[in-house]
Symmetry: C2
Subunit: 124 residues, 2 copies
């Protein structure tokens, strides 16, 4: 294992590992309920904006720009804790949401479960 | 909103939306504790293998191949439930892990938190 990889996995330095598009995965988890609210991507700019403001920012792959979640709807995500995975290419943002996280109005984007090949509503 | 998008967001059809590399995001959550154990990617082959076996399979971006989690270590993930997000480009696999999920031996790959710019161990 390279020194870089050892430091990344066992060290205390935050060395986020972005992919060839400059992105890493970000999972938003409700800090109170533990429910997974959404999954998105962050680039360095989104990581910096999130750390600087305490409000979750992502990189919109469709628009190719910085995306402050809730900028229009007001349904922002206040970041309580950030967890970092072994190889530092994924983050969990434990958040307090100001309102429904999903643009559909659902509390979580994960409002359906797959059962026997069919999507069914999840009780929330 | 296009018919395709409406069906994808509100319908009961499973229409997984893969990106330009043929991948979608997959988050593994412990079905009992709600802890997030790992984040990876799936292609159509990994989705099919997971649905056919009930054991989590992913696509290894580094090796470019199908990856049955735990094939070597024995630390497989038994899938109890699959949640699908609004635009069907992310899945949550609620799993019962056979052992530690992380290759480091940690229960979860998310064994560190970011605090004041420094990574600190998370109590598990």
């Amino acid at each position: 294992m390279s020194t870089d990889q050892t430091e990344r996995e066992t060290g205390s330095q935050f060395l986020p590992k972005f992919d060839d598009k400059g992105l890493l995965s970000a999972v938003v988890q409700d800090a109170d309920s533990g429910a997974i609210l959404m999954v998105a991507f962050m680039d360095q700019e989104a990581v910096d904006a999130t750390l600087n403001t305490g409000i979750a920012h992502f990189h919109s792959r469709s628009r190719g720009t910085l995306w402050k979640k809730g900028e229009t709807s007001g349904n922002t995500l206040q970041v309580e804790q950030i967890l970092v995975d072994c190889d530092q290419d994924a983050l969990v943002l434990r958040c307090l949401p100001a309102g429904p996280t999903c643009h559909t109005g659902a509390v979580s984007c994960f409002y359906r479960r797959l059962e026997d090949g069919i999507l069914q509503p999840v009780k929330s």
